[in-house]
Symmetry: C2
Subunit: 444 residues, 2 copies
């Protein structure tokens, strides 16, 4: 260990920073780097020099930034030999992966917000960064402004995390919140979200759960010290959630939330899933509204921690990028890199069929004697124990001469494969009308 | 930057770790180091070797740990030249400060939980650590298991924090929670807390707010990049909170909480205060029960973040210590230290008299015509605008022939010095019986 003398930041050569992407997040990052230069220099111990901003199309608004910085040749930018840090906020898999690997190969540290890329190809990127001796930081990839990556990666690294559960996608939380508070159906709530900028023109990544699954994979890899990829995550979006589900949830004292649920079992195997779920109204997650995110972490020594904050948006995401930027810059000044990944545990992944949780099963049935008993017998035959039953008349449709009832059964803890067997058998029965709807129940 | 090859942890010499203190926290730390050795080795990249545990008295239960490790000569232990890390969980100012400085001087990195020492003498310790090139980490000093130091120190370091507000002392939160839920008065609630181990035999540090003030000073120093000492913090404990206050708070739709409030103003000056306060029942802080802590952080880009979790206790505090231990150990393995302090900002401290907030003022007055008008006039004369007034008869006492009324006035935002002037004038008036009680109101 050396005795260190304080160095005047002005005497050091500035750190050269390249920015890939200048959209909602990138433009805010560029603004902060420019406008907060003095504070940043003081905090880092060295100046930052933004040397290039790669964008798709140079025919654009430069937003007050120096037009000379902009280039549409991202490959040339990351191939420079003099970059200290590359900030990647353009997203997507290709050509972004190639650009990041090129930057690493040329000795630049990386700050990224790219959950999809990390969930799919994190291993290759971390390996490249570690062997090249550069940093790869990614707080902005999960839960926007909420510091969750750093706590999982560094604060809880002396502890044993057993459960992570949370709301990590602002778009779906906003949509479900709208459906809950206004009674809107999914399509109308999605349209409203798009109108307000909470959902993309193509909302697939959010509403089909790909975004949440990528974030869940990243968090699971950190929390359980074992490689989990996006493809390993059981994924179910919210496109099948109806206003009937919302009404039924309220009747049962719950709300519908899009959750990421990450658990280890006593043998140390890991299950990771994202799907809509009923959550009791009294649960702290139930009150997380709009585009906010919230994450519960349970561990051996710390007990139960909760983190909450804005999960998306230009400024919140930029906050996370800037925190990583300062950290990585401080490392560059001292000629070091932070610790790399810790993925030694090689835990087994629990197949979804083996996962145990609680379920709400809703079916339309002909309202005749014996139907309830028959339905209940199916549950019993598959070892699924029912906790509560709610039966009420369905809204009659024109031309229908049958009396239809809606049966809602909430189960105790049950195994997924058993529950799916119940569903298949119910759907085969002559008393069932339409399909069987299932929502998992968490936090109860 | 070097290209790094992975190193087999077993081939490296273990890192030598000394533990100062083996109480509730220290014993859990020692247990985790011993029982989780394999996981820790994998996460650090090197083994840890606990080489000594300094305690006050060797005539004690060794709790399953190797008795050979124990010593009552802490000074000799920290004077060794071969220590990598010293964990300080003994607390207090002296001789702890001397021990920590000695350890630093001999080249050991420090992990501490000592909020009192850091709030009083942080500057000297950080300066010593930085010039010696060793780490000084202190997550366990603030808010138990909740990662708050690391987010303030590293995650939000590219952002501009404007407000930090929270419950950071589990003892006082437990006592006030008891008073609220059971109607107990302060003395009985304190006795119950002591019985259950939530309060010390000598509870002064907690109930008089010294503990909260030290934590507030540490958080303010991190959040605002400026030196704030414990003595700079306006401090008021909870010993004057009565069950009348609790009842009145409920009547006004609030609860009484012991808060730390840290703010910057538009000129960048800083105010830091700890005191009991009314908080609206709908505010998230209002539902933080028992010995839990919760901290709100508001910043320019991130918006509003909340962190919540166990604020005290052996295992929660040990979790924070272990996170720092692994981080510091990883640094030692790579021959580096983390960034030191960032306290360049030299902000002015706002005197308490200039602080603005809302107030609940409660006085007993003779129930006679003109008293309310006279009281209201005093507020007006000192520029304190009243939002709501509640007047009700006081409970009559034996032998009293006067009719006494309780006047409760909630103000709009007002300046502390103006409010104190109002209080002094009210106390001088002949219509006032007893003293004037004041509770600040936050989050409304």
């Amino acid at each position: 260990m050396n005795r260190l003398e304080p160095v005047d930041p002005a005497k050091l050569a500035p750190l050269k920073v390249a920015l890939l992407g200048c959209g909602v997040v990138g433009s805010q990052v560029a603004r902060v780097i420019t406008e907060q230069a003095e504070d940043l220099t003081n905090r880092i111990g060295c100046r930052l020099e933004l040397v290039g901003i790669a964008v798709r199309n140079l025919d654009r608004d430069f937003g007050g930034l120096d037009p000379e910085l902009f280039t549409d040749d991202a490959k040339a930018l990351v191939s420079r030999d003099d970059l200290d840090i590359v900030i990647e906020v353009v997203g997507g898999i290709e050509p972004t992966r190639e650009l990041v690997l090129t930057a690493i190969d040329h000795g630049a540290s990386i700050v990224t917000a790219n959950k999809a890329l990390l969930a799919q190809d994190g291993e290759a990127l971390f390996t490249a960064a570690e062997s090249r001796g550069v940093d790869l930081y990614f707080e902005a990839a999960v839960a926007g402004a909420i510091p969750i990556v750093r706590p999982l990666r560094e604060s809880l690294v002396g502890d044993e995390i057993t459960t992570v559960m949370g709301i990590v996608n602002g778009t779906t939380n906003y949509i479900l919140d709208q459906m809950t508070t206004t009674g809107a159906d999914f399509d109308d709530a999605l349209a409203e979200a798009q109108r307000l900028g909470y959902a993309e023109a193509d909302p697939t990544a959010d509403v089909e759960g790909y975004d949440a699954a990528a974030k869940a994979a990243i968090m699971a890899t950190l929390a359980f010290h074992t490689r989990v990829r996006g493809a390993d995550v059981y994924r179910e979006g919210i496109t099948s959630v109806t206003s009937n589900d919302i009404v039924l949830a309220r009747k049962l004292g719950c709300v519908v939330k899009m959750l990421a649920v990450l658990k280890t079992d006593v043998q140390g195997a890991v299950s990771v899933r994202v799907h809509p779920a009923l959550v009791p109204s009294s649960h702290p997650l139930a009150s997380v509204g709009g585009a906010y995110n919230a994450i519960f972490v349970e561990s051996r020594d710390a007990g139960r921690l909760m983190f909450m904050g804005p999960g998306a948006g230009g400024s919140p995401t930029a906050s996370a990028v800037m925190g990583d930027l300062v950290t990585v810059a401080r490392n560059r000044v001292r000629g070091v890199a932070g610790p790399g990944e810790s993925v030694y545990a090689q835990r087994a992944m629990t197949p979804m069929g083996e996962v145990e949780t609680r379920y709400l099963v809703r079916i339309n049935v002909v309202d005749e004697p014996g139907v309830l008993a028959a339905a209940a017998a199916i549950f019993a035959n598959h070892n699924v124990s029912v906790q509560t039953v709610d039966q009420s008349p369905a809204v009659a449709r024109d031309g229908e001469d049958e009396e239809i009832a809606v049966l809602a059964m909430m189960t105790h803890q049950a195994r997924e494969s058993d529950l799916q067997a119940v569903v298949r058998e119910l759907e085969e029965r002559s008393f069932t009308r339409g399909t069987v709807e299932v929502l998992r129940v968490e936090g109860k």
